[in-house]
């Protein structure tokens, strides 16, 4: 294998390791939120440091790669994509940490009725599937799968858009549960962000495999 490919493979592997770690944070976060598990939440919060050190390491590896290999064409696009996916993964890690902090404040699990009404767990599961499939798309360099992932984000947005009305109504009927309702609203907002960040990552996969820029496309069309 040419030296440049060995280095690119090292970069990709490091990114996949980070991907696994953030996936673990997100999956555990679901459990911590569902069960108001404080101990698990603390463990998720602590993992944030590890994610940050991956972020720094991958940034440095990319910087070195640019300096030493002056990549062009697909190599250049790959490293640019890795840099951006790295940033998005780190932010998803932050989001998982943020959700764990909400879970820490819960003195009991969310009211099942509220969970049912808001569809928050459906949303969580969808975000996890998107996150996981995006990893597969990156690993197998599959832009088709990446395109499918981008479409899935609509489901998250739909739940998010309804959430304020649903939670508002619920709180009118259950005024003693205001902190719980607000916490759930914040978690839904964070999950919506996870969907956006996974979409960003999927767009980078399409960019580096097909040399096509697909981000901001919808906005452009609307303007036209």
């Amino acid at each position: 294998m040419p030296h440049i490919d060995v280095e690119l493979e090292r970069l990709r592997e490091k990114l996949l390791e980070m991907w696994d770690l953030v996936e673990h944070q997100l999956t555990s976060g679901r459990e911590a939120v569902m069960n108001a598990d404080h101990e698990l939440s603390q463990r998720i919060i602590k993992l944030e440091r590890k994610v940050n050190s991956f972020d720094l390491k991958i940034d440095r590896m990319c910087e070195n790669f640019f300096a030493l290999f002056t990549p062009v064409a697909v190599d250049l696009r790959t490293v640019l994509a890795i840099l951006k996916i790295n940033t998005n993964l780190e932010r998803i890690g932050d989001t998982a940490e943020g959700m764990a902090r909400f879970a820490c404040k819960l003195d009991r699990p969310f009211d099942p009725e509220l969970v049912e009404l808001t569809n928050v767990m459906v949303m969580y599961d969808e975000a996890l599937v998107m996150f996981n499939e995006c990893r597969t798309a990156f690993k197998s360099e599959d832009p088709k799968l990446a395109k499918q992932i981008i479409k899935r984000d609509k489901a998250l947005n739909k739940i998010y858009r309804k959430s304020d009305v649903v939670i508002g109504k619920y709180l009118q009927n259950n005024p003693d549960r205001i902190p719980e309702g607000l916490a759930l609203l914040s978690i839904i907002k964070k999950l919506e962000r996870v969907g956006d960040q996974v979409t960003n990552m999927a767009e980078e996969i399409i960019f580096y495999r097909e040399a096509k820029v697909v981000k901001h496309r919808k906005k452009k069309k609307k303007k036209e």
């Binding site: 440049i4 002056t70 062009v72 064409a73 697909v74 250049l76 040399a211």
Partner: protein, 254 residues
Amino acid sequence: MNIKHSKLEAINLDAYYGDFHALKSINIAMEEKAVTAFIGPSGCGKSTFLRTFNRMNDYIDGFRIEGQILLDGRDIYTDDVRVDELRKEVGMVFQKPNPFPKTIYENVVYGLRIQGIKDKKILQETCEKSLQQAALWNEVKDKLDKSALALSGGQQQRLCIARALAIQPSVILMDEPASALDPISTAKIEDLIYELKKDYTIVIVTHNMQQAGRVSDHTAFFYMGELVEYAKTKTMFTSPKDTRTQNYITGRFG
């Protein structure tokens, strides 16, 4: 690719060294006052192609072309074209600096003397202007009567560029002009190319991918006598269309 004003053009160009088919049906138009880089592995035909623009291949036994090379829309291979006149219009700089064993001054004004110009004022003015254009004046202005061979490699190469500029060409062909130079001299040559393209059409052959990226506006990739891809340099180095181009510029050829 959209070319606003084509200075040089090849139309259905085939070139042969005896039986060897060195260039195959090349069609390309090069922008005026821009830098076009030719890249490709050794033996791909890029230097042969460069040399067709000032008919440097004419001296090689068995060399022949089919098709046309146009300079400002005029075929340069017709019988009525005088090669010495053509070379006034199309100057050339080679890989290895090749100053004559004469003084710096005599090197620069050599072309003018060949043309029969004897007026000292014209010769001196042209010498200074050319050396300034070649970013060498400040380094040599006090030793114009010294031998050109005493200059460093990088200075000798800029002297050769000054010598090419003195006869006021409109096109400058450069065949790996910096490959024998250290990084500082290379940077000076590249800066010079950047400055010169305001007034000249430059075609450069280079093996240095980064150099092609830094200095050229358009890049043409040649492989086994074919023009595989021709595009804006930015496009070529970020999203080349042809797999062969991608393999070559990313160093994965063969």
